[in-house]
């Protein structure tokens, strides 16, 4: 007869040596992990964290190649290029910009503006060479898609570099800042990935709320080009003269509002500037909420804002702003219903602001700031 083990009669105290403090095996079982975590704790953490980061980097790599493929396919299918554009596009994606030295900050804004505009001009001219039939509308789309693809490429390269350096050096503290910034980086990268489709289809994005508000006010009035990719219309409102400025839509561009304002003040006496723009909301703030304020509401690298502030200061004009709050993702992806629904309310608040802050017979510049993709005037 086979003897069956009686599992109901196990003495756990005896098994784990709880009654016997001198059991050497049990001493090892308790003490070994302590030594293991003291000496190899960081390495274990490095292993766990690097596995998580590796997954995110694979995702970033996917975004990068997806945006590159989308761009190449768009150029091939929509623009009838002379030759295969792949090599040329790959060259564009690797282009870098070296910002001017700022040890002596005197004149740095002009230098930055010059560097950034030179890059834009270079890209524009070379995109034109891809296809002889390309029109301005398509050109701005390809430029924007190129910016998205090269930004995603740059993000991937930097994050991958930080990760590989930390891993190569087996340096856990080096991987910590990477772990901390990754959620923010991923938020931006996912937003950029989602931005490809609306820009390709010529749909308005959240950032376009400013041009949308001002563009509607410009309808049925004669328009003129006042600066590069920037449109001007003049209308009368309750005995005041309004100079309406926005980027020239429906191409995907932000125009050059500061140059336009400079040109405007050289020929006209302005009494105030009102800017309408999208603004990044703080966590907890409601999306599509409207806020009014003082000062130049314009994002970007800072050169446009500097120029607008300089013009306002030299002509002693106040700058008022109305902003529509939104997240990073909402700003660069297809405009949400909530944001689109605020347009009429923003326009009413803009009229209120004009009435409250200016007098009849005064002249006011109204600037609709933001990307005007899918928004004509």
């Amino acid at each position: 007869m086979m003897n069956l083990v009686n599992f109901t009669n196990i003495d756990f105290d005896q098994l784990f040596g709880m009654n016997d403090n001198t059991n050497p095996l049990m001493m090892l079982i308790w003490i070994l992990p302590i030594f293991l975590f003291v000496f190899y704790g960081q390495r274990i953490q490095l292993f766990v964290t690097s596995n998580e980061i590796n997954k995110v980097i694979k995702k970033l790599d996917g975004f990068r190649s997806e945006s590159r493929t989308e761009l190449i396919n768009y150029v091939k299918n929509s623009l009838n290029p002379n030759n295969d554009p792949t090599k040329k596009i790959d060259q564009f994606l690797d282009y870098f910009t070296i910002m001017p030295v700022d040890m002596d900050p005197n004149g740095i804004v002009d230098k930055v503006r010059h560097t950034v505009r030179s890059r834009e001009d270079y890209t524009r001219e070379h995109v034109k060479l891809l296809s002889p039939e390309i029109n301005d509308f398509e050109l701005t789309k390809v430029q924007t898609l190129l910016e998205i693809a090269s930004s995603l490429q740059m993000i991937y390269k930097i994050i991958n570099h930080m990760y590989l350096t930390a891993k190569k050096q087996n340096n856990y503290p080096l991987i910590l800042p990477l772990q901390m910034i990754l959620p923010f980086i991923m938020e931006q990268a996912e937003a950029m990935r989602d931005a490809i489709s609306p820009f390709k289809l010529g749909q308005p994005v959240g950032d376009g709320i400013g041009p949308m508000v001002v563009g509607k006010m410009m309808l049925n009035s004669p328009k003129e080009s006042i600066a590069f990719q920037t449109s001007l219309a003049k209308i009368d409102f309750e005995d005041r003269k309004l100079f309406l400025l926005k980027a020239e839509g429906p191409g995907s561009t932000v125009g050059r509002p500061a140059d336009a304002l400079e040109s405007l003040v050289s020929d006209n006496k302005l009494d105030a500037i009102i800017m309408v723009d999208a603004a990044l909301k703080l966590e907890g703030e409601e999306s599509a909420s409207i806020a009014r304020g003082f000062g130049a509401a314009i994002g970007g690298i800072g050169t446009e804002r500097f120029q607008i502030e300089a013009i306002a200061t030299s002509h002693q004009m106040p700058i008022f702003s109305i902003v529509v709050k939104q997240s990073v993702k909402e700003a660069i992806t297809l405009m949400t219903k909530d944001i689109a629904d605020t347009a009429d309310n923003v326009r009413l608040q803009l009229y209120d602001m004009i009435r409250e802050n200016t007098k009849p017979h005064q002249s006011i510049a109204i600037i609709g700031v933001g990307n005007t993709g899918g928004i004509p005037q």
Partner: protein, 60 residues
């Protein structure tokens, strides 16, 4: 098993009739641009203009 629903964003176009102010919602079609002339108004036959283009996120 994956229980999370995939979210997709669908683009819509709102057309507004300048005569009777009737609003009509339809799916976005390529070439639509804000303020551009669009289809005929279903109520009065006037040519509508595109008032809004926006995206709505739906669970798949």
């Amino acid at each position: 098993m994956n229980f999370s629903k995939t979210k997709i964003t669908v683009a819509f176009t709102i057309e507004k009739c300048p005569k009777c102010n009737a609003l009509q919602k339809r799916k976005f079609s390529e070439g639509d641009a804000l303020f551009a002339a669009s289809s005929k108004c279903t109520s009065c036959g006037e040519i509508t203009s595109i008032e809004k283009i926006f995206g709505e996120t739906l669970d798949e």
